[in-house]
């Protein structure tokens, strides 16, 4: 129940912060969120990691959109610095809010109002980590066998063929494994 309440609070805050347009208020919210991050029962390194991740996940889109918009404003005599502060602070607030809530609530428990959805998320996310590791091995193997920085079309075709066929077969096996595991644990007889 605790996680469901936290999810509700999180979603409400998300909409509320999205509706704030004053950069002073948004900077205030950002300060509160930063304080919350430092109050979280985490190691210092993890706290810094949350702040860094939030910053970098908003940095590129922010630079692409708000920096040119503000710069053009300077040339045409329109002060757009308020907008620059507002949009970037709001984006940072919302991203940091997400990371804070991901630390304090269990998203799988929060979403278990639907047994199927919850199970689907648990299974897919746990296997995604395994698949990602195998994919990294594939990429590393391809890189180490490619001469120079330029990739030949024919080499890429071979690599893609092996990769796609391997993961297609693996996903079929995974499907069967999950089905048997669910059946053996009595999932279909509840």
């Amino acid at each position: 129940m605790k996680d469901k309440i936290l999810l509700f609070v999180y979603l409400s805050l998300l909409v509320l912060v999205s509706l704030v347009h004053s950069y002073e208020w948004l900077l205030g919210i950002l300060s509160l969120l930063c304080i919350t991050v430092f109050l979280l029962p985490l190691k210092k390194r993890e706290k810094v990691k949350i702040l860094k991740r939030s910053f970098f996940s908003v940095f590129f889109f922010g630079v692409l959109v708000s920096v040119p918009y503000t710069t053009v404003g300077l040339f045409i005599g329109d002060n757009r610095f308020d907008y620059f502060l507002m949009i970037n602070t709001r984006t940072l607030d919302l991203t940091l809010l997400t990371f804070v809530f991901l630390e304090v609530m269990n998203p799988f428990k929060a979403l278990d109002f639907s047994k199927n959805l919850s199970l689907l998320l648990v299974i897919t996310s746990s296997y995604a980590l395994v698949y990602n590791k195998v994919l990294k091995d594939f990429k590393d193997a391809f890189k180490s066998r490619s001469a120079g920085s330029r990739i030949r079309g024919e080499d890429f075709k071979h690599y893609l063929t092996r990769l796609v066929v391997y993961f297609f077969d693996k996903s079929k096996e995974t499907s069967e494994d999950i089905y048997i595991a669910m059946k053996s644990r009595g999932f279909y007889y509840d």
């Binding site: 998300l14 909409v15 999205s18 509706l19 347009h21 991740r53 996940s57 908003v58 889109f61 959109v65 708000s66 918009y69 757009r80 308020d82 907008y83 507002m86 949009i87 984006t91 940072l92 607030d93 919302l94 991203t95 997400t98 990371f99 991901l102 998203p107 979403l111 199927n116 199970l119 689907l120 998320l121 299974i123 897919t124 996310s125 296997y127 995604a128 698949y131 990602n132 994919l135 330029r150 990739i151 079309g153 075709k157 893609l160 063929t161 990769l163 796609v164 066929v165 993961f167 297609f168 996903s171 079929k172 995974t174 499907s175 069967e176 999950i178 089905y179 669910m182 059946k183 279909y188």
Partner: protein
């Protein structure tokens, strides 16, 4: 193509959540009927395959490379509804579990990439196959699916400065109108679309035989 939180107004993303939710519920019900107890393993494993397709970087002439989406491939191999579910599930996981991609922008990404991307690929291929070769139709289906998704994103972003502005006319969310956002988003996506077209051609040709052979 991921838009971070903060650039889309709640007046847009809240209704988008409802619409996307309705599409997803309908798609899940279709599969529950067809697959019964195999639904969860089937969707989970195909979503994992979709996750892999999304991670493939396709090299293009000139030394550049772009990330494919794999949506068109899945749509042409297994149907647009399953492609939509799988892509949405991966986007949801990225946003909710891994904290990447934006929570408020999830339904927009899901509708643009998952729904429009998979259906446009499916219908583009069905139509083009009547006039063009299979190779060209596959490439163009992948190409158009990405371009349609990008066009929808550009449309949604571009409408913001006209609707959501303060009393002095300053934007409250995304600042650029159609005249800027359309070329800014569509021109780079021509390159991404080319990568997706190539990926679709290669993946579908490779797996089509296996799927039809194994049923």
């Amino acid at each position: 193509m991921h838009i971070p939180d903060g650039f889309i107004a709640p007046q847009v993303y809240v209704p988008a959540y409802f619409l996307d939710g309705l599409f997803l519920i309908y798609a899940f019900r279709r599969f529950k009927k067809a697959m019964e107890e195999r639904m969860i393993p089937y969707i989970a494993s195909l979503s994992l395959f979709s996750f892999i397709l999304m991670s493939i970087a396709v090299p293009l002439p000139g030394g550049t490379s772009v990330h494919g989406l794999g949506i068109a491939s899945l749509s042409l191999l297994l149907g647009p509804w399953i492609a939509f579910i799988c892509v949405s599930l991966i986007l949801f996981l990225e946003a909710v579990i891994f904290g990447e991609g934006g929570i408020t922008t999830f339904p927009i990404n899901s509708i643009a990439m998952g729904f429009l991307g998979s259906f446009s690929a499916f219908y583009a291929y069905t139509m083009l196959k009547k006039f063009l070769s299979d190779k060209v139709s596959l490439f163009l289906a992948g190409f158009f699916s990405t371009l349609v998704s990008a066009f929808f994103m550009a449309l949604l972003l571009g409408i913001h400065p006209y609707i959501f502005k303060d009393a002095s006319g300053k934007p409250l969310y995304f600042p650029y109108g159609f005249s800027i956002v359309m070329p800014a988003l569509l021109l780079p996506h021509l390159v991404v679309s080319t990568g997706e077209g190539l990926l679709t051609y290669l993946v579908v040709r490779l797996l089509r035989g296996r799927i039809s052979h194994e049923g």
